[in-house]
C-alpha cells in the first residue's frame, strides 16, 4: 500500500506498512530526526508534528491514515536562519537544557499562540500538559512564552 502525503511542503509517497507510526517513518526513512521518539504513548509530546495545522503526537498516527494530509515537522518550521519567535525566545532567555523536548514544545506552542495571542500564564501551562520536560521544571519555558506575548493584553 502506498500513502501519499505532504511533508514539509513536499509531496511524498510512502510504501511502508500502513500501521507504521508516523514518528518512525519520519525518523528512520526520511531521517527527519528532530521529531523525537520518547514515550511512544502520546503523553510526552516530544514527537509532536502539525497535521493540517494541528499539533498531534506522531507516535499515535499510523501512516496509512494520513493519505492526502499536510504534515509539518520541526524541520519545516524555521526557514534557514530565520527562527520562529518562540524558538528565538527559548534561545534568548537561556531556557534550553538537554533539548529533547523543545521541538515538541515549539510544535505545540506555535499554533497555540496563533489561536491565543494573549494567553495568561496559567493558560500557557495548560497548553503544555501534553509536553513533558524532565530537565527544566517548566517555569523558565513559560517565562520565555510570556516574553513574546503582548504583556498589556495579559489577563490573569
Amino acid at each position: 500500500m502506498t500513502t501519499s502525503l505532504m511533508i514539509n511542503g513536499e509531496e511524498r509517497s510512502l510504501t511502508c506498512d500502513p500501521r507504521t507510526p508516523l514518528v518512525d517513518v519520519l525518523r528512520n526513512e526520511l531521517r527527519l530526526t528532530g521529531t523525537r521518539n520518547v514515550c511512544r504513548e502520546g503523553y510526552c509530546g516530544a514527537c509532536s508534528v502539525h497535521v493540517d495545522g494541528k499539533p498531534m503526537s506522531s507516535c499515535l498516527l499510523p501512516v496509512g491514515t494520513l493519505e492526502g494530509r499536510d504534515i509539518v515537522t520541526i524541520e519545516g518550521i524555521s526557514q534557514g536562519d530565520k527562527l520562529d519567535v518562540i524558538q528565538q525566545a527559548f534561545i534568548d532567555l537561556d531556557v534550553i537544557q538537554c533539548g529533547m523536548c523543545f521541538p515538541g514544545m515549539v510544535m505545540t506552542l506555535r499554533p497555540f499562540l496563533r489561536d491565543n495571542p494573549s494567553p495568561s500564564r496559567d493558560a500557557v501551562k495548560f497548553a503544555l500538559v501534553g509536553n513533558v520536560c524532565r530537565c527544566t521544571g517548566y517555569e523558565r519555558i513559560i517565562d520565555a512564552v510570556m516574553s513574546v506575548v503582548d504583556a498589556t493584553e495579559v489577563t490573569e
Binding site: 525518523r27 528512520n28 531521517r31 527527519l32 530526526t33 528532530g34 521529531t35 523525537r36 521518539n37 520518547v38 514515550c39 511512544r40 504513548e41 503523553y43 510526552c44 516530544a46 515537522t73 520541526i74 524541520e75 518550521i77 524555521s78 527562527l83 524558538q87 527559548f90 534561545i91 532567555l93 537561556d94 531556557v95 534550553i96 537544557q97 538537554c98 533539548g99 529533547m100 523536548c101 523543545f102 521541538p103 515549539v106 500557557v124 501551562k125 495548560f126 503544555l128 500538559v129 509536553n131 513533558v132 520536560c133 524532565r134 530537565c135 527544566t136 521544571g137 517548566y138 517555569e139 523558565r140 519555558i141 513559560i142
Partner: protein, 786 residues
Amino acid sequence: MSDQSFADKAVMDFPRRDAHDKVTGRTRFTVDIGGSEVLHAALLRSDHASARIIKLDVEPARKMPGVRAIATGSDVPGRYGIGIADYTLLAKDVVRYHGEPIAAIAADTLEQARAALDAIELELEPLPASLTMADSLAENATLVHPDWQDYEVLFEGGVRGGNIAWEATVERGDTDAAFAREDVTIVEGFYEVGRQSHVPFEPRAAVASFEDGRYHIHASTQVPWTVRTVTARVLGVPESHVRVTVPTVGGGFGLKFDASIEPCAAVLARMTGRPVSIINSRREEQMTCLSRENAEIRIRSAVTSEGEIVGREATVLMDCGAYGGEQVFLTTMTTHTLGGNYKLGAVRICSRAVYTNTPPNGAFRACNGVYNTFALERHTDEIADAIGMDRMEFRRRHVLGDQDISATGQVYDGDVLAPMLERMEVLRAKSGSRKDLAGNRFYGEATTVGTWLIFVGPSAATVNLNYDGSATLVTTGVELGQGTMMQALPQIVAANLGIAPEDVIVKTADTDAAGRDLGVGGGRTTVSIGAASEAACTVVRDKLLGVASEILQTPKKDLVLARGRIEIKGRPGSGTTIQQVVAEAESRFGPISGSGSFTTPPFECMPGCTAGHFIDAIEPVFAVHNCELAIDPDTGKVDILAYRVVQDVGRALNPRAIHGQIQGGVVQGFGYALHEEITINETGAFDQTGFENYLLPLATDSIPVEFDLYEGAPAVGPFGTKGAGEIPILNVAAAIGCAVANATGKQVSSMPLTPPKIAALIDDCNPPLQHDHISPVWSENTIERK
C-alpha cells in the same frame, strides 16, 4: 588569575551555543545516529526475578530473516562493578532480576532483531527470590550471590558478606556513653523511601563499530572512561583497544553514570564487522532503570535540653538490587549527608548496600543525600519537638559552622549554613506568606537544610592556542543539558587567555583525544574539568607571555592578556595581538599548547574513624529550602504554594543557567516527594512501565521557585565556583515532608507522599513503620570486623 579579579575578565551569562540546533531539531543525539550500514540490536531479557538457565539455544534465531550475529554470556565473560566485580553483562547459568539481559541479537532492522528473540529457546527454572531487603536480611535468606566470596575486590577496605554487598561505617567518639548520660532526651525515628526513575528523554543508547582492531563506541553516557574500562573488562581486551566518543546527550541525571548496554553493541560490531546500534525502548528503560534506590533508615539521637546532639547513631539500608553497582560507592555518602548539617558529639553510622532479586539501582542526582536529608530533617523536627524548642531556632543554633567537625572529624572552614538560614528569612519576608492561598485546606510550612559534597576526582584538559587566535579545549567532559561544556568551560578558558568565549572551541568527549576523567556528575564538571582547564591555560599563558615578553621587551609580569591582545600593563594599545605572538612562537618552537590536570584536594578526616568509605573527607556544599503547601483534607492532594531556595554556589558564573538547574531540580524533587512511585510486584518487575503510570511532573505541577544564590563560601573550583546542578533536588523531599508534617500534625516518615498516603495519614490509617530487620542495637546491624 591572581593579577585581576575574575569579574573584570569573565563573560557572565554566556549564551549556550547548542541552543539553536536544539530548538530546531538539528541536534543529533546517539539515538539519531543512523544509516543503512547500521545494524540494530535487541536484548533477550529474563521474565523471572531469580531462576536457573536450564536451556539457552540461540541456533533457531540465527536462521531468522536479517539476523547477523548473536551474543550470549560466554561472549562477554568478564565481571565488573564498583568496589566489587559482581556484575555480568549477559546472564550465565542464573538470572538475578526481572529484565536481566541474557542474549543480544543484531539484525538488519530492529523489527527483525525483535522477531528473532522469540526464536531463541530459553528455559528458566524458578529459584527462590528475595524481593525486599527484609527478605534478604532474614535468617537463612537465599543468597543473591552464593559465590560472593569469589568476586574480585576492586576497592579495598569494605566489609561485606552474604546479601550485604558493601558496608560503610563511621564511629567517632563514645556513643554508648553519650546515650547513657542522665541529662539527655533520646529521640528515635524510622523512615523509608521508594525508588525514583530518572526518565532521561534520550534512553541509554550506543552505536559501536570495530575499526582497525579496536572498538569505537558512540555512547549516550556521562562516563566515557567507565564505558571504556567496563567494555575492556567484559570483553577481556586491553583498555587501549576501546575508544568512546559521546555526542550530545539527551539527559542523564545520574542514570548514565554507569556502563550498561555499550559492551553488547561492541561485541556485536566485532562479530558482524558493521556498526551496531542498541537503544533501550522506553519500556526497557523504565523496567531496568538504575533508579534512586529504595531505603530504610533508623536514627537515634541523645540530645540535651539545649539541643546539643551529644550522641547519634543511624543505620541505613540501601537496596542495591541484584548487583552492587553505584550503591556500593554511595554507602559512603550516608556519612556525609545524614551525618551532615548539625554539630554532633559522638556518632556512629552504618550504611549497607543490600542485594535483592530486583533490578539494580544506581546514581540519581544527589543520590542518597535526598532521602538521608529527608530522614535527618524529619528527625530534627522530632528532636526540636521533644525538647520543646522551635524548629527553626534549633536549626539556627546547631547547624555546622566555622571550625566545627563533620561526622568523620573533618574540620569545616567558614560559617555558611547559619548565614544561609538568615538569607532564607530575608527571602521569606520579601515574598510574603502564601497562607491565604490555602483557603480551607490544611496549610504547612517548613525550612530544611542539606549537606552534599563537590564530587571531585581526576580530570585532564589540553588547550591548543590556534594560529587564528582561537583556542581549542580538549577534555572528556560531556554535555548532558547542564550547559557546562557550552558555558562554564569556554568562559573559564576565555577569561584565562584574554579571548572571547565565542573563540573557545570545546571538543566533544573522545577517550582517544583527552586524558582520563571521572565523568560528569555530582556537580563536579565545572570544578574538576574547570580546574584542569585552568591549569592547562596557565601553561599556555606562560609560553605566550614568554614570547610576547621578548617581542615587547617587557617583563612577563608587566603584561596582561585581554580582548585577544597582549598589552603592557597600564598602556592600552601598546602591545600586540595574540595571533602575532602565536605566529612568532611557531617560527621559534612550534604551536602553543598546554595540558593541565586536577584531582581531589587533600581534605583530611580524623584518622581511623571510618571503614569501607570511598571518600573520608569532602568539600561540602549546602542548601536551605523552604516550602509552603496546602493539603486537600479529603483527597490528600498537595499543592505547593511557595518554594524557596538559598543555595551555596561558591561563585555564580551563569546565574541564568543556575536558575534553570534550581527550577529543574526542585521540580524533579516535587515528583519524588509527591507522585513518582515505583512498586515491585510478585514477579520482581516494576508495575510502572512508562509515562502512563510513572507520573512525571507536568507544567501544571510546577511553580516558579524563588531563589537566592549564596556566594563566597570556601571553594576549590576555579574562581571559587561550586557545582550547581546536583544539589537543587537535595532537600526537596525533606522540605515537603516537614511541611506536610507541619500541616497535618502527624508523623511523616515515608516517601513518596501520594494523595492516598496523605489521606490515610490524616485519618491515622497508616500502619507504623516496622523494620524488624534493623536491630535496636546498633552494632548488631554491622558485620563484625576482624
